[in-house]
Symmetry: C2
Subunit: 613 residues, 2 copies
């Protein structure tokens, strides 16, 4: 079901979620347990790998003993002897696709006793290679104790021997004794130590146990930056509703709904073998989680669009849409927010530019047709052939009088895309790089959309520096300016994906990514700004900049970390003033409503850093 979970086509609105059952039986009967679980509507079961009898191989009785013969038996066993069938809970691969194997929690890899430590390692290796052998894709491992060095070392070395088994480390949200005053971050810090010792192995992930008491929200949020493959819900944390059915408290509901977005494998953990609630039996828990999934709040336009792009690293050098299939292409064109903001900006710019009033504008609507010249300059040959869209384009509006309807048209053009049919002769389309176009006349307004997720990273400043030579003095550039922001990001998932390439190049590439498994260690800070037109540029006789040094930027910012965490990279955003108070933004705090043309940019760090609060 590991496969199921990950192969979930996460482009559907309400993706199916996977719920498993753990009955905590020490001596389960595999066939009946699995059959029953299927009947109860569960997608998989958690089963121990060996029966309790297997504990004899810890040879605990030998601590301090000098019994030569018993020692000899132990040493012979350590050499590696095969499982006895009677020790194995699951004896063949029949139910492999329906189960997760549970490593015995009585092993102690960090015992002060040398012998217990060695035997625990041998046992864990045996159990996990058995899982690998019968083709089980995931193992549930015990919660690490405070001294976890050797445990982590063993897990890390076992990855090499059972490459296909995913290790889910059980991590409770809170340790009981924490409630009695210990700080709530203990379990995260223990996990952090463990995964660091395992060098963030991609097969290592968390089985997060939701506890009765929940920590503060900022503590909870931290887990979303971690590799959550499973979420354990003990039946004891469920309340009973009026009818005696199991339900979760409001806070638990909210948290679980958040978790659902990450599509973990949910595990209902029956502390007692049977149900804890009067009504609904064991099925009720699974039904309740599916109910929470079905009743998730409606997705916003942006969320809709972002489906399938969460944590998906793309190079920002090609425009975002190039990575989308044609169907999404259409969706992308429907970013009405962006076009509306541009229209509004152009509208206001024209009003100011012509000191006109709405009335005059409406009167002038007719005349406008003849009195305007619009040039659309396209540098992308294929787009030139097909149609004109704002993206990667420059509109030059040359106005003698106010022309309200023109603006409406411009928007229409951009949506209908058929010069021949719609634009007629009102627009001259020029195939040229705007930096080198010889304009027949100077423009009053320059409209461009060359913005990247980090503002300038698609070379908008360089293009506009070259284009502004055919803007009249006092002319207006839309956008007027754009400002870049950065914030420190924690995301082991994204870090691992970059690291997986095993080369420097991928660490020194910025990516466009819709963050999901990430948390911001601090609020974004402004780093720099670009303004247009830029009157401070020295130009050559052709009016082009002599060099590009004026577009270099240098900035230093200080962040105050909210919670201890690991810095994996830097997130980048932009905020653009199109004209006066008309702002287009992907800054989290000022993000333009329903706009989805840009995802944030992500600069990974080659070496991640731990920051204590």
């Amino acid at each position: 079901m590991e496969a199921t979970a990950t192969s979930n086509p996460n482009t559907s609105n309400c993706p199916r979620i996977v719920v498993g059952l753990s009955r905590g039986q020490e001596k389960p009967n595999v066939s009946s347990v699995t059959a029953e679980a299927r009947e109860l509507g569960y997608d998989f079961v958690i089963l121990p790998i060996t029966f309790p009898s297997y504990r004899r191989f810890l040879f605990e009785q030998l601590i301090g003993s000098v019994d030569v013969n018993e020692k000899k038996i132990m040493e012979e066993w350590r050499k590696g002897h095969p499982f006895c069938r009677e020790d194995l809970v699951v004896k063949n691969a029949d139910v492999s696709d329906f189960m997760v194997g549970q490593v015995s929690n009585w092993i102690n890899l960090d015992s002060p006793d040398h012998s217990i430590r060695i035997n625990s390692e041998v046992i864990m290796r045996q159990q996990l290679s058995w899982l690998g052998h019968i083709g089980i894709s995931a193992a549930l491992l015990p919660f690490p104790s405070d001294s976890l060095m050797n445990y982590a070392r063993c897990v890390n070395s076992i990855f090499g021997t059972v490459p296909y088994v995913n290790m889910w480390i059980k991590i409770p949200l809170i340790l009981e004794d924490e409630i009695l005053g210990l700080k709530e971050t203990v379990t995260w810090e223990r996990w952090n130590k463990f995964r660091t010792l395992c060098e963030n192995h991609v097969k290592l992930s968390i089985a997060l146990e939701v506890t009765q008491n929940l920590p503060e929200d900022n503590i909870l949020d931290r887990w979303f930056a971690e590799p959550l493959k499973a979420v354990i819900l003990p039946t004891t944390i469920f309340l009973s509703n009026a009818k005696g059915f199991p339900v979760l408290s409001k806070r638990h509901q909210t948290f679980v709904r958040k978790l659902i977005k990450y599509k973990p494998n949910f595990i209902i953990d029956c502390v007692a073998d049977g149900p804890n609630h009067a009504s609904g039996g064991l099925a009720a828990y699974q039904e309740y989680i599916h109910y929470l999934n079905r009743t998730m709040p409606e997705l916003t336009q942006v969320e809709q669009f972002a489906l399938g792009y969460h944590d998906f690293l793309q190079s920002p050098l090609q425009p975002l849409m190039d990575n989308l299939e044609s169907s999404t292409y259409e969706v992308f064109e429907k970013d009405s927010t962006k076009y509306a903001l541009y229209e509004k900006a152009i509208h206001h710019a024209l009003l100011d530019h012509t000191n006109g009033s709405e009335e005059m504008i409406l009167e002038a609507a007719e005349k406008a047709q003849k009195l305007v010249r619009v040039y659309a300059i396209e540098k992308n040959p294929s787009a030139f052939v097909t149609y004109v869209r704002y993206k990667d384009h420059l509109f030059v509006l040359i106005t003698q009088e106010l022309r309200f309807n023109i603006i409406l048209n411009i928007r229409k053009f951009s949506l209908q895309n058929k010069k021949a049919e719609v634009w007629g002769d009102k627009v001259t389309i020029v195939f040229s790089d705007m930096r080198f176009w010889k304009a027949p006349e100077k423009a009053d307004i320059l409209v461009s959309e060359l913005l990247g997720s980090f503002g300038d990273n698609e070379l908008s400043p360089e293009c506009l520096d070259g284009a502004q030579k055919f803007l009249k003095s006092g002319g207006i550039s839309i956008p007027t300016s754009y400002t870049a922001f950065i914030s420190p990001i924690s995301s082991s998932k994204l870090y691992n994906e970059v690291a997986a390439y095993k080369d420097l190049a991928h660490f020194e590439t910025p990516y466009v990514v819709m963050f999901q498994s990430a948390s911001e260690l601090a609020k974004p800070c402004q780093v720099w700004r670009f303004e247009h037109p830029n009157s401070n540029i020295s130009v050559d006789e052709d009016g082009n900049p002599i060099n590009n040094f004026h577009n270099t930027r240098y900035s230093k910012v200080t962040f105050n970390i909210r919670e201890s965490g690991i810095l994996h990279g830097i997130a980048g955003y932009f905020e653009s003033i199109l004209y006066k108070d008309i702002i287009l933004s992907i800054h989290p705090d000022t993000h333009s409503v329903d706009m989805f043309s840009w995802f944030p940019i992500f600069f990974p760090l080659r070496v991640s850093f731990f920051f204590a609060k």
Copy 2:
């Protein structure tokens, strides 16, 4: 002279040191300055790359100005225009092998002013590429200011464009204002930040400026872990002796003598163009440094032996001597300390074993010849053919009575190596792996020397576990035990050498190395011990161990860092009890006097860590 310094055959006792002269002239006449320096007995000179006139290209007057034409001139220059000959101090490669170029200290790469920052970068790039062009191997760069981000970034990117120029960053031991109370570690921490931003580039090193006041010794020691390529000695820190000649204070002398061991390029820095002292002129400073070099304390045997092996990483898998040329081979055999300790141990073991007294021993000396059987077991075919030495050997002494002279002989054998001539029939040499030798009779004493720098790392435990089956019960193993110690080590030099391989394998290899450019962040701690004979092993019918788990070790130690520093790896040592109170040790605090058979072991860390005190 960079070359000179590094190609110094560092196997001679008093290696020649290199002393350069910096006269701090703004407008030096190259030919006369160099000629004079040669006459004065200096090996190189420090010369500015450009004349002060070149400062005009900072265009400082343009800060806040709107002069379009001046701006245009600046932009044209920034595009990259060639040097005017009159700006260049050194116009050709004539004196390249006799000079180090000094980057102008008036540039400011971290100026809050954008324009100054850009121009400073262009200027530094120009100056350094000029050095590269005329084949100068080293550049002296200004001491970084507190905000050094951009400075470091530029230097790091310039390494790519002028690959052959070594960058010496000027770092004073103490900042003047530190004396007025600031903590003395400021300059080290600034250096540390700078080199970290340059990712420890191998071409980046320190020109350490020795100041009038010296910090505490532990602060001074830290610099020996850093890449010291140059040491600047301002004439102002010299005192005058009775005759008016420049001399250094006792503490300065001690420090400079320590520095000499690292063979840096010394630079006499005339703050005033001329000498600061009544007698000796400018030559006196250079002569004084050479005097300090000539009058270095005599090298100990170990130092003698270690010459040429400082910071030289060797794989511990081959015995150390394999890496030495045959001449050193002879030296190596002269490790009388090791043989003496073994002799003493065997002596005492025999006394105890036979409850004999000196007198009885001497009486027995004669008889001994007939009454002893000695087996020498050799597993190395070539050594078997040539001669027998303790290393990699096992001596089995089978004694019915006490035999003092035998021990003397054994020592003699090991030094004379001629079985036929010396040993006669008293010793049987057996070609066998001791683990599998079928002994004709059981031994009273096992003597072996299979120790690695970390104790067990040459598999002494595994060999002796196999051999102890032919030791009588109550028999003695020499050595009786060996204990491993580790300590945290800071050494950017060793770290860089490992990193230079650019692969994981070299980071996961331990090395045998004679530390020089390294400092211990904390005292060594014990990690584990092996004892022989080991009565706790379960053996099979042949008397061999069933498995090797009993030789696995696990340990956790906590260190208290003495001074803030960077952890680059772990040093390993061993201390062996040969017999009772006879100890053979390479632990720094208990190192056996004059013994040089083992260098410490070094486990590099892939990621270095900064530890604040």
